[in-house]
Symmetry: C2
Subunit: 139 residues, 2 copies
DNA sequence: AACTTTTAGGTGTATACACACCCAAATGAA
DNA sequence: TTCATTTGGGTGTGTATACACCTAAAAGTT
């Protein structure tokens, strides 16, 4: 086992993807700083605005996120009263929905998100979203 | 503020990048399962093999990672005795280097990493790494 | 009805990540 | 030589992520 055997590890697609995500996330989070929301939280709220109420499973599936991760990500939003839960007929299901306060917060953050999105879209070019979506789907 | 204003939030490049990174990371981590290493840890070890000893700052810069993140990421590797620290002439600088045990662990994980990398490279195509690197650099 | 299986969801634990802030050592200025 | 500044690095805190495992309710089976 020679040290040079590890040379191609510098082309690790996983590390490259994580690095890109870190870099892009920092850009968005800087823009959203004043809103008090992280990009992940903003995306979650915007999903709930579009989807209306949603089960935890449905939200996790739509967002391509582990269910248990979503549970954890919901916690700060629940604490801020940006998201509320209700139960449906099936008492196992927990329906999550955005609150009025959550709508306000999302509305206040929207211009900053647009600014970040415009700048990033310009830097990465028009095909970036499609490429990223393909990467998420392929793995 | 209409709900439909949030429709284009579904095209968020930040979320797409994070989602791709999650998906790809899961693929690699599944392959590396038996090695006891996460992909991030494997990459860190492979960097230390190639670079020899490195300061914390230099490693963080090379890996495109927050210095404080790297400090935290080193902890499990230090606990496993895969990485060791020494101090140079400048007593502020902490030189990190891979140990013999770390080399063994990395060598054992290398075939699994290659397997994950081959499969992912095939799925994502030959331009994926370049695209991801550009995204990391652009943001 | 009683039992099994499936389904929805949460917890425990551990890593990954980053900003704000802190400390100590080296460097530079007076 | 003081003293301010810069530089290398760590901590506190909080979010983000996921696997293994758990509980309860619904659905299916006998």
């Amino acid at each position: 086992m020679n040290d040079t055997d590890f040379r191609d590890c510098q082309d690790c697609l996983c590390f490259a993807a994580r690095r890109a995500a870190r870099s892009i996330t920092q850009h968005y989070d800087r823009q959203l700083r004043g809103s008090g929301l992280r990009t992940t939280q903003f995306t979650l709220l915007s999903y709930l605005i579009i989807a209306g109420h949603s089960s935890v499973n449905a939200a996790a599936e739509y967002l391509g996120m582990e269910r248990t991760t979503l549970t954890r990500n919901l916690r700060p939003l629940l604490a801020l009263d940006y998201v509320a839960v209700a139960s449906g007929d099936d008492r196992r299901v927990k329906l999550i929905a955005i609150t009025a306060r959550g709508r306000e917060a999302a509305a206040a953050a929207l211009p900053q998100w647009r600014k970040a999105q415009r700048a990033m879209s310009k830097r990465l070019g028009p095909s970036a979203f499609r490429e990223l979506a393909a990467m998420a789907a392929a793995a």
